[in-house]
């Protein structure tokens, strides 16, 4: 199997994206079908690659025959392809939902932005070069701005503008970090930086870590870099929010894990020798716990269903970041698993919320009351997604949160406080998700303004099937998650695979 064809994962959506405005002249629905087809190809192909590398071991796609560490390479491993597949899956589901939804002005251009965002997020996950990652992050943030602004309300442009400001500061910080990494080591290849990270002195390494954090945590929706979140989520369409949390957030957290663990990660036993007693990953633990606390408290106070889900999304990202910060094998398995579960469950919640908002014509949960009695299936499927995020046993979130809590208890010390935060967060989630569900089933009469669509129901059923399958049979994904966590935990395979294909062997 020639793994260089993995570049099609970037090529196909990129080509399709810029053909869509032309296709849109022939028919707006046709453009939606083509966008769906491109993302479905990406999903199927990356799933095939994932199954291949899971049995045959990680592979490297070399671009333009410039061997690493000199050229740009894509790293294909259970970890990167698992998240690429998740991202393409969420993108495909949103494209499927859009097939049935009402068209808006400039509809095919929104499809272009969706394809660009999903393509860039997938490429951020797959790439093995920090500058290449920067370029794709920029495409990702351009796509996100277009997605947020596409609803055309005042709040949409406010959200888009806030995102531009945060992402703009992040870009500057990221360029400084890349400049420092290149200036000290003379390479942009992630594997070579990872191999030679101990040559950087402590002060510069700390500066690089902070600058990377400032750049990447904007996309990862981590406090204090997530202040763009409320306006952006309220301003965009609810099904577009599924992309913001399931695609943009996932890519951001993955990139953070890659930088902190593969690039700057050092074996715990070597820390004292090189860096004194300070561990960079403690930054991630503190920020993660803060995000969980503030996200859940903010979610409790909201009435707008999109904002509740948005704050809940930030809180879940905080849990994943906390797991990455702990950095043991169990914690990383929990983090990887929770990131996947969050992407799938939040996609379901946002797509279902989008359909509810379409049916009732409002996003206020008080005015949505009684909707569950009129459209029972939709409300029950929304419940499946909510149970998945809360982590009720037999649903997917339970297993991943259990892993994270177990790892935190094993690590001991003041991580027990964080355990209390995560369990308290689950309690807050129970409160606000059940509040929505009880409201939906209130015995109030509500007028259904629009009908649902078949493609949307199909999308929601597919997501619910994944949630239930993972919840009942978590060991089905166990092998992939285990090797994915192993790759983050021990970077030696990553380095030897990438540099082994190159000129320095």
């Amino acid at each position: 199997m020639n793994t260089n064809y993995a570049l099609l994962l970037v090529g196909i959506p990129l080509t399709t994206a810029f053909l869509l405005p032309i296709v849109g002249l022939a028919g707006k629905k046709l453009a939606r079908w083509i966008a769906f087809a491109a993302l479905a190809f990406n999903f199927v192909y990356s799933l095939g690659l994932l199954l291949y590398v899971n049995s045959a071991g990680p592979a490297v796609a070399v671009i333009g025959n410039w061997k690493p560490p000199f050229g740009i390479n894509f790293y294909l491993s259970p970890l990167s392809l698992f998240f690429a597949t998740t991202i393409y899956f969420v993108g495909m589901i949103v494209a499927l939902y859009r097939i049935g939804a009402e068209t808006i002005p400039g509809d095919e251009k929104l499809s272009t932005a969706i394809l660009l965002t999903v393509m860039a997020a997938g490429a951020v996950v797959l790439t093995g070069d920090i500058f290449n990652m920067f370029v794709f992050l920029e495409i990702l943030s351009i796509g996100t701005v277009i997605l947020v602004a596409s609803r055309g309300a005042g709040i949409s442009f406010r959200g888009a503008f806030k995102y531009i400001v945060f992402a703009g500061i992040g870009t500057g910080a990221l360029l400084f970090a890349i400049g420092f990494a290149y200036g000290t080591l003379g390479t942009l290849n992630m594997a070579e930086i990872g191999l030679r990270v101990t040559e950087i002195n402590f002060a510069v390494a700390g500066f690089i870590a902070l600058m990377f954090a400032a750049g990447l945590l904007v996309e990862a929706e981590i406090f204090p870099f997530n202040l763009w979140l409320p306006d952006a989520y309220e301003g965009s369409f609810a099904h577009i929010n599924a992309l913001l949390s399931g695609v943009v957030g996932t890519a951001g957290v993955y990139a953070t894990a890659r930088i902190f663990l593969t690039l700057l990660g050092i074996k715990v036993s070597d820390y004292v020798m090189f860096y004194g007693k300070f561990n960079f990953n403690n930054i991630l633990i503190v920020l993660g716990v803060l995000t969980v606390l503030l996200g859940e408290i903010a979610a409790l106070t909201q009435k707008n269903i999109k904002k509740i889900l948005a704050y809940s999304s930030a809180a879940q990202m905080g849990i994943v970041l906390f797991a990455i910060g702990i950095g043991t094998h169990t914690a990383l398995a929990g983090g990887v698993f929770h990131l996947f579960n969050h992407a799938v469950s939040k996609a379901l919640l946002f797509v279902a919320a989008s359909m509810m908002i379409h049916k009732a014509g409002t996003a206020d949960i008080d005015e949505l009351a009684g909707l569950g009695r009129k459209s029972r299936t939709l409300a029950l499927l929304f419940g499946v997604g909510a149970f998945g995020v809360i982590g009720i046993p037999m649903f997917n979130g339970f297993w991943s949160k259990m892993y994270v809590v177990k790892a935190a208890v094993e690590r001991g010390g003041w991580n027990f406080l964080a355990v209390a935060v995560i369990l308290g967060a689950a309690l807050a989630e129970v409160f606000y998700y059940f509040r929505i569900l009880f409201k939906l089933f209130n015995p109030v009469d509500i007028e259904i303004k629009n009908r649902g669509n078949l493609a949307g129901y199909l999308a929601i059923f597919a997501l619910a099937a994944v949630i239930l399958w993972v919840g009942i049979n978590p060991s089905g994904l166990g092998g992939i998650i285990n090797s994915a966590a192993g790759e983050l935990f021990d970077k030696s395979t990553y380095i030897s695979t990438v540099l082994g294909t190159g000129v320095l062997q």
Binding site: G154, I155, V165, T171, F176, Y182
Partner: protein, 119 residues
Amino acid sequence: MIDSIYIYITAFGLFVIGLFGVLSRKNVLKILVSLSIMETAANLFLVTVGYIRGAKPPILTKTVSSVSIDSLNFVDPLPQALVLTAIVIGLGTTALALVVAVRLYRHYGTLNITKMGRK
């Protein structure tokens, strides 16, 4: 011949000026100008990373068969390629941000971020 330490200091100074502008200005366009200053600072920093005092531009003027890299005395060309890419991306994001600024003005009738109400 400037020592590169002064360029580094300039780059950091520009970055801090840009950050101050973003945090303190109320006008949308002034915030965008400050963001551009920050990006320029980052670009200046990146290109300085490849700077070697007294070295020549990395262009081969005549055909050479075998020559060692050190004897050519070139500056590092890679940061220059990176900066070109970063400048182009910066242009794209600035154009997009200006479009959003135009739409904000049409919607709220003001460019002052404190005067934009809810909705």
